[in-house]
Symmetry: D4
């Protein structure tokens, strides 16, 4: 619920356009109405640019449609992650304005125009082409949260020159998300080149003793470069979200 | 090497107070002189507030003294992590101006006055008293890198009221470091209360199936709250360093 | 075999309505007749309210029907766990009186009316909507064993207010089952709020480094709150069964 | 927040006693302050029979003495777990009334007379002599929390007759704690013999592929008998605490 | 190489029938040719009762048919393990005399009449009905290798009376194979009751933290009863084979 | 319970010598008392050649002396495993007739003359000199249980000729114990050369990714040669015990 | 950056041709641009015999076709690994000159005639028939990189005579690739027989506690024979590539 | 045994200076005399430059002295790895000509003058100063086996310029050993820069989730650069030995 709506409601109470009982009823009808007043959720809605997020994995398209329609009523932007093309088709057909990003495997419903809420650019770096879906999930998440996003893809450590030749991108970024599978070495290299926060995302790309991303995860946790923190395997959404928080201009009190 | 020194050197060349050969020699005498010119290290020294860091674990006090004396010549601040009281005594006696923080198990040599380089406050939260050494390592690291630091200790999830009664601290922080062992649940709870970046630090505190911090590490990687990223087990230094990068005001170009 | 039946049998022997040989034959025809006399199973049947349970996973619908028909002859309640809708349809069609609970993924055959055998209420708490199937398996198990069951769902630690706003439910429960995946933090929080036994059920909900529930399992084993014990991953049945034992009024000797 | 307070607030807005801005501010500041958390600790102290507990591992005797003296002021019973004989001597000498149990490796300060708060007997079963320290920690914990405790030790599954010859003890118990290392089979066997809650405690006893208790832990989580829940490796305290909660007579409201 | 040959070689050198260079060359060329390896396979074929074995998993029915036809030419018995019904149908149709055992999931081609080669009976014990396929694979293997086989199925440790009531079977066996999944406790119990070799077979039966049989495997390796040795998870064939070797009457020299 | 007793009971009911209630009570009280367990330990003592065994690890010399003195009263042989030289000295000084084997790290008290109870020879094979202590523990165990033992040491797979040159030893053995650390390959090779039972003992010898014997353990469980079964890491005693059971001449009834 | 350029820069400062600010800026902008990275790829293309490689796993046939067509334009040889027959058919039909090797599961486009670039023969050894696909991937890779390749298949350690009877092949090879699953013992045995580099390839062949190749991987890392190095599980390509590098005649400068 | 000695012996037989019996006796007195003739070891001694190696870990100085004195009699070079300064002092004092390398933690007895047996240079690269002991063990091993060795130390991926500035060393090497702990990324980077075989050595350097070198080991097995093979954690000896085999000029037949 957006604060303007609460303010409007209070003003209508002050103007006697709305009875106390009706106002109370309206406040109660917010999510978690059983709380009396949805304090925390209220706070959450006060944050500009925070999308409503549905984790699509393991949900049917019917379930997603129902949740999305409910969330969309709030008027904010909505993001559905981990959704394949087949289910996405149903969702896009059922919820007007929703579009599907097949690379990021996500549906987006943008009801609010893009507003740049960040201090600078969020740069998404990835090691190989197989890491692109996770990288795009991060990019999409950061973008919908009000960040300018740039991409530097396919710059794995086995061909360092590709990375090094684009140093100006690294130097210009406010926050850098680095996505890599296999041996997960890229965040160490990037972290050694810049003095900005690096969010490392291990991917499940690899085979044999990569163990579904564990090799990359461990490598990133042990990165010899300082300033690297790590999110869960394949968690592009989490990386994009964290990057958005780091890049965000603080609301003036 | 601090940029003022390079500028001064160049000016002396311009003023013919220094010959080109001598200037070249002086530039070469920087660390990694074999590079011809220590490009990257040079860049590193340009960053205000970055301390020189020695990882003390596995080094003798003699080795630490030697390294610290070398680093101290640069005129910046120095930090020695993972050093016990016994070795620290030798170090403090041998390198003038060095003090020991027994809780953080670190030596500090502050040659530069504190300058606040951050946008706001870095808050260090920890779950139990056994987590304090790691939390203090994070706090000390952030402080020496030019950040105002506040602490909120002993607020584990088994006694939520202690955390909840200090919400104003959480709300006011620019970046939050959350340190916890055992089940590692605290970052999820903190991440659900604030809209700021949370850096989670698992500690090796626990026994039995905590497996030296793996239980907490896995919990933090799987935190249900968005905006949480994770560093290595017991890596207070890494958390403090990342927090400093996130809180840092961007140098104007 | 219910003790009333053994008593009736003995009385018919005493009344000479039944010869010793026939009585012996009938006693022998109980399960594990090869034991001479099925001491242990006999004991098991003496317990009021204990359902016969079929673990449905990996069994064909034909196998389940056969076992269920056999068990149903005892006249008690029967529970089939881990059965999908397709196989359940066959089972319900073949064994009269059986109904399917699609959320708990279980079939129930209630041949005995509900009798409250517990001291109080068994409360089933779960963290997210994906944990509901396991939570419902626990609820159904406890209910069929003669317990009043209440539910508190979707109260994960990233939104603490939802849990905290329902404290009266937590305070009123005799035993609490807490079901959670991902970082598995909820049992620690619940265990810190109440002075009742908490049975923690890790679920395989999550991805990446959740490792099919290991992250949640380890977190729960390391819960910093006292009074928490843990069952196997996704083992809603085991949790409901344990809760029923804990809540049970002791039979008077 | 209770709706009456929100209604009052709205009424003050309607009456123009409160400006819209102030009302908005007050709504924003509500989060958890209404949840009455200050009473939580209070509640904890009200609970009869709950000892104050100090986890002694990794603490110096000086630290333990300081904490124990602080806790003792409350007038309740106190328990220090995981403390070796050497540190215990200092503690007992420094805090009057404290005694050391060398088998359970725990210090006890009983300031309140024993009061039986349980419904029945808590039975502590253990498999081998090496498991006795963990079993005694459980026994001591349960005893100090107001439970009658009985012991059935050295009844491992490789010599079943020892267990089976004492069935009357098993049958009479209200709650059973089963402590075992190595293959951890005993809880399954005990759980198959009784219809009471079984709390399984894996111990780190064993060698080779017992992996410090993991073998026993996994076995217990997979116990084929229903009604078994598990605590952390070597966590005798946790088992005794859980058993006390399960055995406890409910306080009348 | 037998010393007589070296002596002969040296004598030829002494007699100048062989140059030093040629002798050196011959000494160099000796490696293993003297070790009589051609006889190894020969020995294998001489062993009465050893079937030819095809590991069917991962092979097409065409591949199995080709191998089986080749092996069958030797006139001995043949066993195909890990083959499902569909592929087995093709195999049985293509290789005359082959029959399929759907429980053991194995094809058998018995070209030799059964001859009892053992000292006594091989007893196959299993814990639950889900363990039966592995148990039957063991039974079939032992039987085709010339052993009298008896079965004692569904005697898991949660219902000890079923096992205990058949002690005469345990006492009479020469070798006992014990098959169990979940917590894998049965071999410890059986090993404690008899003074015969016990071969433990963990099965992948179970869920959650059974980890596909690891829980049972670890339990069996840590069995507190002496005389238990272990084969790989689900390796009924290996257990049957080992049992056959243990039970075998030694060929008279 | 034997049916005659149940029949007698029923007849007494029929004759009104026993009330129905008393009969019901007697049926309930039957559990395992009829299973003759008192004889189990008795049986154990009847077995010729079975030593009393004390697992010395983690026990003080005083504890070992006390247990050993108790066991020695039975007049049989006694074995103390996992005991270092220092504690052994006390034990040998305190219990007359006890000798220490420093390689096997075991104390032996032989009160009975050696009697060959086996069919043939138990051969102990080991890969490297570091594996010898475990091998000697196996040898000593087998010897004290009445077996002729031979040794074939230091025949690792990296120098096959050493093993192959002693094939006659392999061929002559009734049972073979193979002890190896590092990659644990030796049991596969030995198992491929003979048609006798092979008991594989992984040792914790190795470094890095040998993980204290896990590498060898896994290799042995996956041995491509049939007829190999495995005991726990470093479990020389268990291997010797199993070998003794396999080699044992059956007692004539 | 070569010192001459820095000298020139300093001289221009001395000559006032360059302001101090501009010099400082130029020094800052240097990073890696001087390191000549544009030549890295160039070097790669200069290497005779290096194929362009596409990792086919997880790519659609359309994606593979597009990449392959792009790569083929370079005129060199191309290799597509991890591609099944179905996708390969499309690829072969779409890119002229491409052929499919169904055993190695790879597509090859040889645009350059075979040129022997090696010093000797690369020998590919494998343990069982199930290891052949990985072995053939290694063979194909080495062959397309300009190596004479020989094969020695199905020589597992359970039948050593097969390996030993072909020692001349082992002795003649320049580099040996050894492919094995299950217990992974073969590289140790081969490494003990020859004085040439051995590249060990663990395969995921096996079941139960082979854990998809981990058992073999660990065994190979712990090989007691010196001279063995290891590549990832099932990584035949990597082994063939490494073998080609080792066998390669050095280009004359 | 060096071939010259065998030739001399044969010549003395030819000259009748030595009887056949004496010659046979002398041949038999070689190591593994029980073989009749030590075929394999003979072969091993024929290889020029192969040192005798003693793995010092877990051996007393007395044991090492005894073995070393025995080996030294062969007249070749000897290497003792994994030996600390204290034991080394005894060894050097007892075996004339032995020197200790405290960084490599190895003793060397060079009885043969250095002879360059390699095609080119073996380059040893390491990431951090903590990796130096393992790197020096590799260097020493390669050197004593007749290789020119160069070093490139402290060139971790967090400061790429240090590595890149020495590319000429990388380009000039015949074989490259890369030693790294923590995230183990260096082999990938080096492997991407050169077209020579890279032997990766993970070290146990690191903390937290480095798990004693597992993180680095996994990273190296998953190296995205081709041409990288891996040895065991901290196995500098194995890497140096493999490098020596790869660099070795083939003996002309």
């Amino acid at each position: 619920m957006d604060p303007a709506r609460i303010r409007a409601l209070l003003e209508r109470v002050a103007l006697r356009e709305l009875t106390v009982d009706d106002a109370l009823g309206e406040l109660r009808s917010l999510p978690y109405s059983e709380l009396g007043f949805a304090t925390v959720d209220h706070h959450r809605h006060l944050r500009r640019g925070f999308p409503e997020v549905v984790f699509g994995q393991g949900k049917t398209s019917q379930q997603i449609v129902a949740i999305l329609q409910e969330l969309a009523r709030g008027g904010g932007n909505c993001l559905v992650t981990r959704i394949d093309a087949e289910r996405a088709e149903t969702v896009c057909r059922s919820v007007a304005g929703t579009r599907y990003d097949p690379v990021a495997r996500a549906c987006v419903l943008e009801q609010q125009p893009f507003e740049d809420l960040g201090r600078g650019v969020v740069l998404i770096v990835c090691a190989g082409t197989s890491d692109v879906p996770v990288a795009e999930e991060a990019a999409l998440t950061a973008q919908i949260m009000g960040n300018r996003v740039e991409r530097l893809f396919d710059v794995g450590v086995a061909g360092l020159h590709r990375l090094l030749s684009r140093r100006e991108l690294l130097d210009a970024a406010e926050v850098i998300v680095v996505v890599a599978g296999m041996e997960g070495a890229l965040p160490s290299v990037v972290g050694g080149l810049v003095a900005r926060p690096v969010i490392a995302v291990p991917t499940s790309v690899g085979y044999g003793a990569s163990f579904g991303g564990i090799a990359a995860l461990l490598a990133m946790l042990n990165a010899c470069a300082s300033g690297v923190s790590v999110v869960n395997i394949d968690n592009g959404f989490g990386a994009g979200f964290s990057a958005a928080l780091m890049n965000r201009r603080r609301a003036t009190p």
